[in-house]
């Protein structure tokens, strides 16, 4: 048994503070990394827990803590240059009067790449940053509207329909998930869970649980469809970002519409690839392509029962208890209890997040599992707050 002695967040905070003022554009008032600095730069590009899972745990032993600190400090020059490039990119954005998209989401990784390629910004840096910004906002990038135009071409629609049919014809996987293995991941994920996730993935429990959803009524119980039996998706001709049907009832267009602009695709070939992948994804268990996604879907669906049976379920239930108090403190009590549709809302939101990760080609390390589950419940909780407010106003306007 390895002694787990230090919180990762604390180690990271200390190391970050050692970097000093030169990374201020990536830091908050307290000198800590911004949420997106951690999520988009430090974790995926500097610490890389996918490759070094022992650095991804919430609690680190002394050796891992030292290694994490060393990695961050070793990246000092890159991070300082990234901060400088980010400032230049924001300046270029302002000069071009661009207001779309979150600058951190759009530029952080690009700024890091520039830092890697060019080091600290030199004399021609303003031009370089300007070109980079132009590239991000390239008008040739595929948008949701382009996707719709593409999918509504009769020949394309027909071809995609054929692909969906072919993919669904060879739908595979069966068996039963092992409840003990699922529970083991839920017990471990808040503090680790690497071995437990690997065991689930190796055994294919996620696929087995996903395949079981094909039995009449099962997917509806999870909130993933309004129908008794799940049908293959339509190609689709319309999509709005609000009022979407449950995930399994969404057309290919609806599944891709919101995300496609962020995928930085240019040209029909790229579009075609994304659509093909979605057609195939829809036929797989849980309608997800990766076994790790399916494993997390399976575990999430169990944890969302909030039954106190596992550590994760207890932690999630704790969020609901806090929420009851916070709602009163914010004068927003609606008297609802977690059981009121929260489980299915959770499962739907989790699916959307996992599908989104697959679209963007992001790995799913064990270190991300708990943050993902907790983040999904947070979204469900905050959505409910907004809904209470909206419902009060709407009733009054009637």
């Amino acid at each position: 048994m390895i002694a787990q002695t230090r919180a990762r967040a604390g180690v990271l905070a200390e190391a970050w503070r050692e970097l000093g003022d030169d990374v201020a554009p990536l830091s908050n008032e307290a000198g800590l990394p911004l949420a997106r600095t951690t999520r988009l730069i430090v974790d995926p590009l500097v610490v890389r827990p996918v490759r070094y899972p022992h650095l991804g745990r919430a609690l680190l032993d002394d050796d891992a803590a030292r290694e994490l600190r060393d990695r961050v400090l070793a990246a000092r020059a890159d991070l300082v240059a990234t901060a400088a490039w980010f400032v230049l990119m924001k300046r270029a954005r302002r000069a071009r009067r661009i207001t779309t998209g979150h600058p951190q989401d759009l530029y952080f990784q690009r700024a890091y790449e520039l830092a890697h390629r060019h080091g600290h910004p030199g004399p021609d840096a303003a031009d370089v940053a300007g070109k980079e910004v132009d590239d991000v906002h390239d008008a040739d990038r595929v948008t949701g509207a382009d996707l719709r135009a593409y999918l509504t071409l009769p020949a394309v629609a027909q071809e995609v329909r054929r692909e969906i049919e072919a993919a669904w014809a060879e739908a595979d996987a069966h068996g039963h998930p092992d409840a003990a293995r699922v529970a083991a991941l839920l017990d471990a994920c808040a503090t680790g869970g690497q071995a437990e996730l690997a065991a689930l993935v190796a055994a294919g429990d996620g696929s087995a649980a996903g395949a079981a959803l094909r039995a009449p009524g099962h997917a509806r119980d999870e909130g993933l469809t309004a129908h008794d039996v799940v049908a293959p998706p339509e190609v689709g001709t319309t999509a709005s970002k609000s009022a979407l049907p449950p995930p399994f009832d969404r057309s290919v267009l609806e599944r891709l519409f919101g995300a496609v602009a962020g995928l930085e695709i240019t040209g029909t070939a790229g579009l075609r690839r994304v659509v093909d992948e979605e057609a195939r994804r829809s036929a797989r268990p849980w309608q997800l392509a990766d076994e790790a996604s399916r494993a997390v879907m399976t575990a999430g669906s169990v944890a969302a029962r909030l039954d106190g049976a596992t550590d994760a379920a207890r932690r999630l239930a704790g969020r609901w208890r806090r929420e009851a108090f916070v709602r009163q403190a914010l004068r927003l009590p609606d008297g609802s209890v977690p059981a009121d549709g929260a489980r299915t809302a959770f499962v739907r939101r989790l699916w959307v997040r996992l599908q989104g990760r697959e679209l963007r080609g992001r790995d799913l390390p064990a270190a991300d599992v708990w943050d993902l589950l907790d983040g999904v419940l947070r979204s469900v909780v905050l959505d409910r707050r907004d809904r209470v407010k909206a419902a009060l106003a709407q009733d009054g306007a009637r």
């Binding site: 990762r8 919430a58 207001t99 916070v326 403190a329 905050l382 009054g396």
Partner: protein
């Protein structure tokens, strides 16, 4: 942990911990629910976190009242201040999108009340536009919305005339209604007239700009009186069920879909408001 009394508590939702300040006792505390996540920020100074918490409390509980002479606060200003402070706490808040959420809330208030700049608040407006720009939400400031001055005319009612068979007034419970609905120190005045109708009047909470629409009813044993906002007061009248005359009714306010926050002390709210200031 024992949590403080919700209605007089300012809360900040941090990553891994809920910080709270009981404005009634001056006590502060924290409910750490994920210690690993709080490492790095829990020991940092809490001034900005307290500011965020106080502005959220003001938005929820500030007891604007004609009776107690407490002026309403502008929700745009509260929202803008919160957005700016939350941006300084990026990486520390439980919700990674807290700034965007506050900015969207601000935009909704602006759509209803007009641009923040109209509230003339010095550097705050410029700063919040900067924050919006930094978060990709730098939409153009909205046009001033159409005024709805005809509202008061449309909803105006006349008090029951003639003989009064029975009358009384009951306490407004601020915990039973959302912010900006009823004067927390007002009374629910009711009377049963000779025509056997019961009429109810409740002073409205003063608000900045037009009030947000809400369904409000006054409820006593066996009778529900839908109320309509007419200027400074809510008013409604329905036939009085005979049973109403057999004992003195006690009216309370009910907003459908809103579960009352128990134990709210309106006088204490006003005292706290005077202590913490606008």
């Amino acid at each position: 942990m024992t949590r403080p009394v919700a209605w007089r508590t300012a809360v900040f939702e941090g990553a891994g911990a809920l910080l709270w300040w009981d404005l009634g006792t001056g006590e502060g505390g924290e409910d750490v629910w994920d210690a690993a996540r709080t490492a790095g920020w829990l020991d940092a100074p809490r001034d900005t976190m307290r500011r965020v918490a106080l502005d959220a409390w003001r938005a929820a509980w500030w007891p604007a009242s004609r009776v107690a002479d407490v002026a309403p606060l502008d929700p745009r200003v509260l929202c803008a201040r919160r957005a700016v402070a939350l941006a300084a706490l990026d990486g520390i808040t439980d919700d990674d999108e807290a700034v965007e959420r506050a900015l969207r809330e601000l935009a909704a208030h602006e759509a209803r009340l007009g641009p923040l700049e109209e509230a003339a608040v010095g550097p705050l407006a410029a700063r919040v536009r900067e924050v919006a720009d930094d978060h990709g939400l730098a939409g153009t400031a909205p046009d001033a919305p159409p005024r709805r001055e005809d509202l008061a005319l449309a909803a105006g009612g006349t008090p029951a005339t003639g003989d009064v068979l029975m009358a009384g007034d009951d306490r407004v419970d601020p915990g039973a209604v959302p912010q900006g609905v009823a004067d927390p120190l007002g009374r629910i005045a009711w009377q049963v007239g000779a025509a056997l109708t019961v009429a109810v009047t409740v002073p409205a909470a003063p608000v900045a700009g037009d009030p947000e629409p809400v369904v409000l009813t006054a409820v006593a044993d066996g009778v529900t009186v839908p109320l309509h906002r007419a200027g400074d007061a809510w008013w409604g009248e329905v036939p009085a069920p005979p049973a109403l005359l057999t004992s003195r009714p006690v009216f309370r306010l009910v907003v459908p879909g809103f579960a009352a926050v128990p134990g709210v002390d309106a006088r204490r709210l006003v005292e706290i408001a005077r202590e913490v200031g606008p």
